[in-house]
């Protein structure tokens, strides 16, 4: 595989994507929703419920988490402690959904879009190998997705720190858990989603069909979210690293499979 050839297709696709607001919108909007809207709404929601005199059962909230978490919230009033646990622990798996959602339009569009715009034949006639084409299509979805995730994380950290710094007198983000989530688990998981979406995109007739099938990919991440909230699973550094290793192994299998079943003829026969 020649990386400079991969980058030729990557640059071409990125130029096209930049000029297509339908594709670029999720990459921009999803980080804003996650990093600003979610913490602000959650924070203000719990402040309001506390102000109205409702009391929160903290034991129920922290039961699935490690004992050290109780030390972290020491000194915080109950309403802020709830927000803290929600924003730093329960919703941590949300960061894993960002790359999947941000990239789903790009990865679904990868080959299906070329088919719909009838550009497949000229692209396939170029002396690029199957693996170069496949990897280029994965990268063009992966890089914006990871940028969106990192930018979300930075904005989220700023908002969360702004909320808790006055009470705790320290910065709560970034911490090791989140750094591992953002820089290890999120890319590993994103590659699974993007790899599958690109394979689907190369084997269906159009973009909509590809996106409908790829939309299902967010579901396993929601399982992680519920597992963390219910206390079944705690995403600590060890679990995150272990999951990332498993996901990277799955990535390798998906890539090998994707390149193996990549078929120029199949792509042409699906032209509308």
């Amino acid at each position: 595989m020649r990386i400079h050839k991969v980058m030729i297709v990557f640059r071409k696709d990125w130029r096209e994507i930049r000029r297509n607001w339908q594709v670029i919108m999720p990459v921009v909007v999803i980080p804003i929703i996650f990093a600003i809207f979610l913490p602000v709404v959650l924070g203000s929601g719990f402040n309001t419920s506390s102000a109205s005199g409702q009391h929160t059962n903290m034991t129920a909230f922290t039961k699935g988490l490690q004992p050290s978490v109780s030390q972290e919230i020491d000194g915080l009033p109950d309403n802020q402690a709830v927000s803290y646990i929600m924003l730093l622990y329960f919703f941590a798996p949300f960061i894993l959904i960002i790359p999947l959602m941000a990239s789903s339009v790009i990865s679904s569009d990868s080959f299906a879009g070329e088919k719909e715009r009838k550009t497949t034949e000229a692209l396939l006639a170029t002396p690029l190998t199957d693996s170069e084409l496949f990897l280029a299509k994965v990268l063009v979805a992966f890089i914006p997705a990871i940028i969106a995730t990192v930018v979300s994380f930075i904005m989220y950290s700023v908002v969360v720190d702004a909320m808790f710094f006055p009470a705790l007198g320290r910065l709560v983000l970034p911490n090791l858990n989140w750094v591992l989530l953002v820089f290890l688990l999120a890319p590993a998981l994103a590659l699974i989603g993007i790899g599958i979406s690109v394979i689907v995109s190369s084997r269906v007739k159009g973009f909509r069909e590809a996106q409908q099938i790829s939309g299902v990919l967010v579901l396993p991440v929601l399982l992680l979210l519920f597992a963390q909230m219910s206390g079944v699973l705690f995403l600590g550094p060890f679990v995150i690293t272990l999951l990332a290793l498993v996901f990277f192994a799955i990535d390798a299998v998906i890539f090998r499979f994707g390149i193996k079943i990549f078929n120029r003829e199949e792509l042409l026969s699906k032209l509308g």
Binding site: V9, T119, A125, P127, R264, L268
Partner: protein
Amino acid sequence: MPSIEVSNLTKRFGNLTAVDNLSFKIKEGEVFGFLGPNGAGKTTTIRILATLMSPTEGSAVVGGYDILKEPLKVRETVGILTENPSLYERLSAYENLDFFAEAYGIESRKERQKKIQELLEFFGLWERRSEKVGNFSKGMKQKLSIARALVHEPPIIFLDEPTAGLDPAAAKEIRDLIEMMSHKEKRTILLCTHHLEDAQRLADRVLIINKGRNVALGTPEELEDRVGGTPQVEISLSAANKKIVAAVKSVKNVVKVSAAAGRLIISLKNPKSTTPEVVSAVVKAGGKILSVNPLRPSLEDAYMKLMGEKNENS
């Protein structure tokens, strides 16, 4: 060594045989016309030769490379104008050509720039190089697609309907370009077309296919002769009379003469040797000749007749 050698090429899609045991050779620098009705298997054959599809049976060597063993080398050697323009409409004309030039291996930016400018200027698109292709007319897109096929200066070019969607002036420019590329630059051109006059004017040889099968292969003249029957010559005179008609009839190898309004239509054998004798006889009989034209069936006549015969036989 032939530039393209196709041996017993067959392509089946389920029960449908799109290309049926096709064999032919194309010499270097030759313009090879590929004619046939819609669905005859022309585009499928081009796709197989461009390594976009694999044959069910048979093989082909393109530019010295086996299509099954060295598809990447084949793709480097070939420039292809596809049925659809296959252009990125959100990119500019320049960006489109730049992408394909780089994908085809022109790594130097300067070299790409020079080649792209040359092509866009030739096709009259240089002034609009920064405009998005989505805003281009059908004819402009067709020109840009041809430029894309030529951007890496391939020795072998597959052109699928190159004059489709072009106005007469632009179509002439393309025909001139094809002639120049074949005669001066010795590039091999496989020309798929419905325009029989394009094939007649440009093709050194023509292959007519129907339902994936070889119907006829030869130079346009050979195909015309195959369907032409007895050759005819037309002589226009300032005035025709019985004496002139009698003089022509007396010439050896003249089969039939008909005269009408100063025009003689003469059916004859061995036209190359008989025509000068006929002209001489007319002059001796006092006829004043305005013009002498051999009457040949056109490639269109040949095509229609050959296709008709094939349909009757199948």
